[in-house]
């Protein structure tokens, strides 16, 4: 559809404008309050020699805390060590590794969260008894839980996935509790008039009615699963993932802050990709539903 296409283009343009604006703000702040810098070299045959000494010194925008955009980009194009692939290629591999853990965790966590939600929604007594613990489980910082899971279950990709699952299940459970009760009471009555069993009511009425709620939770969980996987990689000592990269570049932060920023970009990209995958799945799964005001 032409209209859909033009809307997509508008959206993409909007995204580019926002990213561009952020980069401009970033550099303008450095221009006013950053460290002095010099630009010199030969660009397309023109000799450039530019020196800038900002009028202020703001600590937050020094080269130490906020490296130049071009430095971040540049550092991705060169190897960290001699005879090694460039940083971007390394980080891309790290990202894939982390996303595998996140995806496994997301699948485990969502499945567990959904089942827990179904059980709790059906057994009121259990709901009252268990929901407080479900909530408490999420108030414990994930960095405290991660070593328990990872060390307890032996370090490995599966324990990383479990940490991701730990963050993932909660939004799904809460959404299921709400969504499974969102069905039209008359639809339940209709099923009753058809002598439908509980299972059929769940499958044909409650779950389809809960689906929009569940997908909202899946979007939250998808990004959370990336965070979970990264945090899980730290105590596991896994070097293949973004967790390892972040830990490594943290240690070298004073020397090369732009590397940490580069790793952060890849972590953000992983979260965004996870989110978009869920959005695509939602589009597909809810395609027949009455269109709501604005698809997220």
């Amino acid at each position: 559809m032409a209209r859909g296409r033009s809307r997509q283009i508008r959206r993409a343009l909007g995204l580019i404008v926002i990213v561009g604006a952020l980069l401009v703000i970033w550099e303008v702040a450095k221009f006013i309050g950053g460290d002095p810098w010099r630009l010199h070299g030969n660009v397309l045959g023109v000799q450039i020699d530019f020196f800038h000494n900002p009028p202020f010194r703001w600590r937050i925008v020094t080269d130490q805390s906020l490296p130049h955009v071009w430095n971040v980009i540049h550092t991705m194009t060169v190897p960290v060590q001699v005879n090694r692939p460039i940083l971007a290629s390394l980080l891309f591999d790290n990202m894939l590794f982390t996303m595998r853990g996140a995806a496994t965790g997301f699948a485990l966590g969502s499945a567990f969260g959904l089942m827990l939600g179904i059980v709790l929604a059906n057994v009121r007594l259990l709901e009252r008894a268990l929901v407080p613990y479900v909530v408490i489980s999420q108030t414990i910082p994930i960095i405290a839980v991660a070593p328990v899971i990872v060390i307890g279950l032996r370090a490995g990709t599966f324990s990383v996935a479990l940490v991701a699952a730990y963050l993932t299940f909660f939004p799904v459970t809460i959404a299921a509790l709400r969504g499974l009760r969102a069905a039209d009471p008359r639809a339940i009555e209709l099923m009753r008039s058809l002598a439908a069993g509980r299972w059929e009511v769940l499958r044909k009425v409650r779950l389809p009615a809960a689906a929009p709620y569940l997908f909202t939770a899946f979007k939250i969980s998808a990004t959370a699963s990336v965070v979970g996987a990264i945090v899980g990689e730290l105590p596991a000592g896994l070097r293949e993932g973004l967790g390892g990269a972040l830990l490594n570049f943290n240690q070298y932060y004073t020397i090369a802050p732009e590397r940490l920023w580069a790793a952060l970009l890849f972590a953000a990209a992983a979260g965004i990709v996870a989110f978009l995958l869920v959005v695509a799945a939602e589009r597909f799964a809810l395609r027949g539903y009455r269109p709501s005001e604005e698809p997220a």
């Binding site: 008359r186 008039s193 002598a195 044909k204």
Partner: protein
């Protein structure tokens, strides 16, 4: 007061076997706790013969919907018995002896029109191929065959209600329970739907119990009109509609039609006078009913 026990009331060409037999049925909401509760129905006796079209009419709070729900085993009588097809209402529900149509169509957004009609067939385990043919047949019956692949929310209110009727008829039930099915439609659509329903009734030979607020609608459709009054809900009169069985737009202009409309109207007024008809009293009863149902 009621002469419903008189077997001559089942009019031609229906046979004399009763499909629904209600005897000494009372219903009290919230009566489990001491202090009484709200008496929704008192000592109801009613027999509905095979192939009849019986309308229940009365002011809000007279318990006509409750009576319908008692027949459908969607709620239980406090005392008395409801027999459907010679068995308990409960048994009849489990045997899927009836179809039900509510005031709102209660269609599932996530299913196509055709799949909505197939729902009762799915629940009762009809094989897929037969489901498809039967759903087509029912959609043709309500003249919506060309909308089979549409989504319910793409249809007008009247069309949605016709889908609901097709769905209710999908299992070829012996009884069709209709709770103000056309109450939410505009007058013109409603009159068209009345004709449509009569056609369906004649084509299928289904027994219909029909709750309505509209006197002309009750007279136009029914073989008998059951007049009820509120506080407590009871039957004050049963009027035989001796209009020709083959009804059409001209029926509404017959002198006999107007006489019968007047007769029903006067019955309603007398019932009102007899019960002292406090309007907000009956609203309260309705609210209590809703609350009591919610608890159950």
């Amino acid at each position: 007061m009621t002469d419903s026990t008189d077997p001559t009331h089942t009019t031609d060409p229906t046979d004399s076997s009763a499909v629904v037999e209600i005897s000494k049925v009372s219903k009290v909401f919230g009566g489990e706790k001491k202090g009484g509760g709200v008496e929704a129905l008192r000592e109801i006796d009613l027999t509905v013969g095979r192939g009849e079209f019986v309308s229940l009419i009365g002011p809000s709070g007279c318990g006509k919907s409750t009576l319908l729900r008692l027949i459908g085993d969607l709620t239980n009588p406090t005392s008395g018995s409801v027999t459907v097809n010679g068995k308990t209402a409960h048994r009849a529900r489990l045997d899927r002896d009836y179809g039900i149509v509510f005031q709102s169509p209660v269609l599932f957004d996530w299913r196509t029109v055709e799949k909505n009609v197939q729902l009762p067939l799915e629940v009762s385990g009809v094989p897929s191929a037969e489901r498809t043919t039967r759903a087509r047949e029912m959609l043709d019956l309500v003249e919506l065959g060309s909308f089979a692949q549409n989504r319910p929310w793409q249809l007008s209110g009247g069309m949605q209600q016709r889908v609901a009727i097709a769905r209710a008829l999908a299992l070829k039930p012996q009884i069709l329970l209709m709770d103000e099915p056309f109450g939410a439609l505009d007058e013109m659509t409603r009159e068209r739907m009345n004709l449509e329903l009569l056609r369906v009734w004649q084509a299928t030979g289904t027994t219909i119990v029909f709750v309505t607020h509209s006197i002309p609608e009750a007279v136009f459709l029914s073989t008998r009109v059951v007049v009820m009054s509120a506080r407590p809900g009871r039957i004050t009169n049963i009027i035989d509609i001796d209009l020709p069985r083959d009804r059409n737009v001209d029926t509404r202009e017959l002198e006999r039609y107007f006489e019968l409309v007047t007769q029903v109207r006067e019955s309603l007024r007398h019932g009102e006078a007899a019960s002292g008809g406090a309007v907000h009293g009956s609203v309260e009863a309705d609210a209590l009913r809703v609350r009591a149902e919610g608890l159950g």
